[in-house]
Amino acid sequence: MGQIEWAMWANEQALASGLILITGGIVATAGQFTQWYFGAYSIFSVAGVFVCLLEYPRGKRRKGSTMERCGQKYMTKVVKLFGPLSRNYYVRAFLHLGLSVPAGFLLATILGTACLAIASGIYLLAATRGEQWTPIESKPKERPQVGGTIKQPPSNPPPRPPAEARKKPSEEQDEAAGAGVSSGPQENPIPVTDEVV
């Protein structure tokens, strides 16, 4: 149990609560329920959409690789801007607790309240264990180094004898700095000239 990152579960729970809040708000507003303006609050102003946007980018796991959510890198940039406010889970815990309260006055969104409050509790647990939100950043693509894998070019001109005959002389050739064409122990049947203009 020691390696559990509670924040990951809290994140899923908060995202689900955000969606439930939005749904409840839509139902209340569409049905023109009594006190539906609480429903409007749930959708349009702070609670539902804000929670979803905040929770959409998944944080990086401490150990191992993390699966990103589809298209989360745009929100990651925005959430990163808030610095310590978004990194610290205490802030998130109390923020969610505060956001859930107004939704508790309308029946349609009361489920969202309960779920968001639970998410807030799990975030509190995560915060007391010192967890932090770290953004998942894509590593810059390493440029393949052209020519890095090409080893020492053959120092014999063709035709070259097969591998076994070449193995013994290879140690001698390693010592000789392979700048120019060295004649080596091979006897070419046809004289070879290097045509350099």
Partner: protein, 564 residues
């Protein structure tokens, strides 16, 4: 596409039947509440939301009943065992229990959403008609309890004008239990997301046990009779079609229509969930009983690449090839049970597992066994449970593919073959086996080196060299290893494993493998068994479909995957 259908026709059939039953139950309940005379007056207040809520409730009952069945491992194992005369496709169906469980869960979530939205409208409408003073039929019906002195013939559960919907929800049994079980459902769903399950299994395992609260809550949910319809006797006196429009005159004693009387529907959820609940309860008792039997550890071997082998004996334990057990170590954690495939053969007098360090629990287990001074920790075992590997000997030709530690079920099979050969068991249906082992590092080969070497030798001695074909693939090679292998190309045995079969470097080319096998065995049914990652599964499934011919007499590839 045709091949896909051929391989999975039973799954498709089960799915279609399940969906069909869902639709049927939904429509049936919907029509009975939308059109029935009994609910005419209820509909006056509530409209269609009543029918939506009741129809989704019926589907919820149905799916809650179904969801426990795939989780009864012992029952499923028993069914697999008794179905030995059944066709291979029927037994494969029982592998898909987890997939079915998830599908049913998604359906429950969908219907919960419909049910809640419909009831939100219901409560709102009850509230409105209670508050209204326009003298409409709805408001007259809502004020019924105040006028009638006999029994509880009320229709609107909101009796006073002061009551708010929230108060109503939280103080009535259906409302309160509804909120609780929905919260429980949401918690279960968020902790079962694939990401959480794979990375933090314990969170999923413990949280999922709150399903008990869900089922108890569901059983209680219907008590209270809030859904009300007209009684039979009342319909005789006050039939809606005749009397509804004259509602102002109901109070007159001379009028032929009396005030309607209502009764609440009794709880019906418990009828659906009682049987699976009891069955699952017995399943858990059985698991507990089996786990209490004493387990004696006879041998502990520490292999390279942080792999621990445990050999154990337990009274009354009998296994088949490729089965798995659940292991618990109370000194590490009282409540956690982790699954491991058995790596020993049924013919041996002990059973063994190979455990790789892959997380909290496994690392602690290896650490506990590594300590020389302290006594060996106690182990509890539940199982064995059956999976697809039992089917290996039913196929004429079998392709066994294991990636890394995923080779464990096949180790059991190979060992069993060795014993069968020793006892000259000629009843084996299997004619040829192709064994593919894909490994990242050479240290991994050490585990079953002895086994593979002795099998090779055994085959040579009995003159059946073609029976068992190994293909070992090393995917994490570098230039040193390749150079070394190139130098020793002519040697009779492989430098890495000491086997006669040479190790290949890199990943297998499946197209080539499948087409070769299809050519060598033109009329056989080939079983393909995989224990490994999902990417490999996709690739192999594709190859199975591609290389199975449409003609059932020619080569057919059937795919089976291990799942926990």
């Amino acid at each position: 596409m045709a091949n896909c259908l051929l391989n999975h026709w039973l799954s498709v059939l089960v799915l279609v039947m399940w969906l069909g039953l869902n639709v049927f139950l939904f429509v049936n309940a919907f029509l009975s509440y939308e059109k029935g005379d009994k609910y005419y007056y209820t509909r006056e207040i509530l409209g269609s939301a009543l029918a939506w809520a009741r129809a989704s409730a019926r589907c919820l009952n149905f799916n809650s009943m179904l969801i426990l069945f795939p989780m009864c491992r012992n029952l499923l194992s028993f069914l697999r065992g008794t179905c030995s005369f059944c066709r291979r496709t029927l037994r494969k169906q029982l592998d898909h229990n987890l997939t079915f469980h998830k599908l049913v869960a998604y359906m429950i979530c969908l219907h919960t959403a419909i049910h809640i939205v419909a009831h939100l409208f219901n409560f709102e409408r009850y509230d409105r008609s209670r508050q209204s003073t326009d003298g409409s039929l709805a408001s007259v019906l809502s004020s019924l309890s105040h006028q009638e002195k006999e029994g509880d013939s009320w229709l609107n559960p909101m009796q006073t004008t002061n009551m708010t919907v929230i108060y109503m929800t939280l103080t009535s049994i259906p409302g309160f239990t509804g909120v609780i079980i929905t919260i429980v459902l949401v918690l279960m769903v968020t902790s079962s997301m694939e990401f959480i399950r794979r990375s933090y299994f314990e969170v999923f395992w413990y949280t999922h046990h709150i399903f008990i609260i869900y089922f108890i809550g569901l059983g209680i949910h219907g008590i209270g009779g809030i859904v009300r319809g007209q009684t039979e006797e009342s319909i005789k006196e006050n039939h809606p079609y005749r009397c509804a429009e004259f509602f102002e005159k109901w109070d007159d004693h001379d009028f032929h229509c009396k005030s309607p009387q209502f009764e609440g529907n009794s709880a019906e959820s418990w009828k659906w969930i009682l049987a699976p609940g009891v069955l699952y309860f017995f399943e858990r008792i059985l698991r507990l009983y089996r786990s209490q039997q004493q387990v004696m550890i006879t041998k502990v071997v520490m292999h390279p690449s942080k792999v621990l082998e445990l050999q154990m004996i337990k009274r009354g334990f009998s296994m088949e090839v490729g089965q798995y057990i659940f292991v618990n170590c109370p000194s590490i954690s009282y409540l956690e049970w982790h699954p491991f495939t058995l790596t020993s053969a049924p013919e041996e007098d002990f059973f063994s597992i190979h455990v790789r360090a892959a997380g909290d629990w496994t690392e602690n287990l290896i650490k506990a066994f590594e300590q020389q001074n302290s006594p060996i920790p106690k182990i509890e075992v539940d199982g064995p449970f059956g999976t697809a590997s039992e089917d290996v000997f039913q196929y004429e030709v079998a392709m066994l593919i294991g990636a890394g530690i995923g080779v464990t079920p096949f180790a059991s099979i190979l060992k069993s073959i060795w014993y069968k050969f020793q006892h000259a068991d000629h009843n084996l249906k299997t004619q040829t086996i192709y064994f593919y082992w894909i490994c990242r590092e050479t240290g991994a080969f050490a585990w079953f080196n002895d086994l593979l070497a002795s099998l090779e030798q055994e085959m040579e001695e009995s003159g059946k060299v073609g029976f068992l074909n190994f293909r070992l693939f090393l995917t994490g090679w570098d230039n040193n290893i390749a150079g070394h292998a190139a130098l020793n190309f002519d040697k009779a045995t492989d430098i890495l494993t000491g086997l006669k079969h040479k190790t290949f470097f890199g990943r297998p080319m499946w197209d080539k493998e499948f087409s070769t096998i299809a050519t060598i065995h033109p009329k056989s049914v080939v079983g393909v068994f995989l224990c490994g990652p999902q990417a490999l599964e996709k690739c192999l499934r594709k190859c199975c479909h591609q290389y199975s011919s449409l003609d059932p007499r020619k080569t057919q590839f059937y795919f089976n995957k291990e799942n926990f």
